[in-house]
């Protein structure tokens, strides 16, 4: 497995606070091309906050996020999307009034260039662009087996399917870095297996760094190349899954309990 590609994302000395509560304290790590990097840690350890800092929704108090060597600390979330940072959400933040297809098309926003006037007339250039982007979206629909949901409003879709649309939407952005926030939360084993398969497919096809936040240790240990462990906002370990399993600090803070109960409950 490829784990030594070029460094794509560098997070350095990141600190974030809400009022007096420190959510992240001096966190640093790197993600390389083509690797699946898992971010684990107990609830409230700051995993989602870290993702929010990378996707630009939170502004860290200290530290830097560099993407492709570019400092993006002051870049707005929508600009970051244009740079190719894409993500899914813990609680499925889809556009619930749109169909699955339109959800994916909406993510093509940054690639479609025509303006409001052309959009209103919807002829020539606008039409051509729509159709071009549509075919790209259709590829994603094929990949994630979303055909049955294509013309259905996402609000009416089943939970697992919605999770997949969420992933599809992130892919439609043609990500150069993919952040997945608990893609398997609330799924049963069968659905988890499907999702794992999709993630591995994406990794194989796109060869981009994928950062995944997940509670299911089984999944994490199986599919990730490297693991970063957070606890109370600080990074306590980093390494291959095998190393992490053996890491004393991790065992006492996290896996220890998990080993006892097999899997740490959500």
């Amino acid at each position: 497995m490829v784990a030594d590609g070029n460094i794509k994302l560098e997070v350095e000395g990141l600190s974030l606070s809400f009022g007096s509560v420190m959510a992240l304290i001096d966190v640093s790590f790197r993600a390389r091309e083509g690797e699946i990097l898992a971010l684990i840690g107990p609830n409230g350890a700051g995993k989602t906050s870290l993702l929010n800092c990378i996707s630009g929704f939170y502004h860290p108090r200290h530290g830097q996020v560099r993407f492709n060597g570019l400092e993006i600390n002051r870049v707005s979330p929508s600009r970051r999307a244009k740079l190719g940072i894409s993500r899914t959400f813990q609680n499925i933040e889809l556009y619930k009034g749109l169909t699955a297809l339109d959800n994916l098309m909406a993510a093509r926003h940054v690639f479609i260039k025509y303006g409001p006037v052309a959009g209103s007339i919807f002829f020539g250039k606008a039409r051509k662009e729509e159709i071009e982007n549509r075919s790209i979206v259709e590829e994603i629909i094929d990949l994630l087996e979303l055909a049955e949901a294509r013309h259905r409003v996402v609000e009416s879709l089943a939970y697992g399917l919605r999770k997949r649309v969420d992933l599809g939407r992130a892919l439609a952005l043609e990500p150069k870095l993919l952040l997945l926030d608990e893609p398997m939360a609330g799924m049963n084993v069968e659905e988890k297996e499907d999702m794992a398969r999709f993630i591995l497919d994406i990794q194989e096809l796109k060869h981009i760094p994928i950062i995944i936040v997940e509670h299911d240790m089984g999944v994490v240990m199986d599919i990730s190349h490297r693991v970063v462990v957070l606890d109370f906002g600080t990074k306590i370990a980093e390494g291959s899954p095998q190393e992490i399993k053996r890491n004393e600090k991790v065992i006492s803070a996290y896996l220890g309990k998990a080993n006892q109960s097999g899997e740490r409950a959500k």
Partner: protein
């Protein structure tokens, strides 16, 4: 033990279109802790809301089956009536009245009309179960920690001496130490107050430890039930809910690409 709450083959759909429950039956006997297990979206919360009649506020309808409480049908009632008869639901996610103080929150749960002295008495009972609460009674609830909120929420449910308490994911988003404590309290309430408890949990392990009986839900159906000790031993439960079937021997997620395993009870 006599059954006091029984849910018989209920079917529930939202907006008259989306069917969520497809014939669910559950029985709660007096003094029991019954656990309802299942993954996200299986219909656990909907089942609880069907019992407490909170469904209607979300455009949900019971389209089939019935629910009886101490021999009386209650599935056509209003939520406040259900509460008055002695079934109190504790909603998922530690829902507090955020702008109220702890004491106001507790008072909001008081259902009687016997006046101030009765409320005082009830408050004292709750404070005796949760010794941390009196210290906090003038604090505004929105600023309390998760554990404190969870205790307050359970305390509020207790203030009207319910016969059955419906607990929806009390461990959700709590630190492991607190989870243990909450479950301990639940057990204690069950022992001391003789309150029957219907417990919805994703944390199957912890729930099975205190429960007497358990049901497993999947896609709007009960797929398995039995005494808690028995379920703890069940292979499927071990594999799918407890993740216990030994990390070592399980097929790696990496190799599932073209292979799908079906659950035994479905195929």
């Amino acid at each position: 033990m006599i059954s006091i709450l029984s849910v018989n083959q209920i079917e529930v759909s939202y907006h008259k279109v989306i069917q969520v429950l497809k014939g669910v039956s559950i029985e709660v006997r007096e003094g029991q802790i019954v656990a309802l297990l299942g993954a996200n979206g299986a219909g656990k919360t909907t089942t609880l809301k069907a019992i407490s009649c909170l469904l209607r506020a979300e455009a949900g309808d019971i389209t089939g089956g019935d629910i009886t409480f101490m021999g009386k049908r209650i599935d056509r009632s209003m939520p406040h009536y259900i509460a008055k008869t002695g079934i109190i639901q504790v909603l998922e996610g530690r829902r507090v009245f955020p702008h109220f103080t702890v004491e106001e929150n507790l008072r909001a749960g008081y259902l009687g009309s016997s006046g101030e002295s009765d409320i005082r008495e009830k408050l004292e009972t709750v404070y005796s179960i949760f010794p941390r609460l009196p210290e906090l009674k003038h604090r505004v609830c929105g600023f309390l920690s998760g554990g404190e909120q969870q205790m307050m929420v359970i305390g509020r449910a207790l203030i009207s001496n319910p016969k059955v308490m419906l607990l929806d994911e009390p461990s959700l988003g709590l630190a492991p130490i607190l989870i243990a404590k909450i479950f301990e309290i639940i057990k204690r309430i069950n022992d001391e107050q003789k309150t029957s408890i219907l417990l919805v949990e994703q944390n199957a392990l912890a729930a099975l430890e205190i429960a007497d009986y358990a049901y497993v839900m999947e896609n709007g159906r009960i797929v398995m039930d039995g005494p808690a000790e028995k379920l703890q031993e069940n292979e499927d439960i071990k594999e799918f809910y407890l993740g216990l079937s030994s990390v070592g021997s399980r097929k790696s997620y990496k190799e599932v690409k073209h292979y799908k395993r079906r659950k035994r009870w479905l195929s």
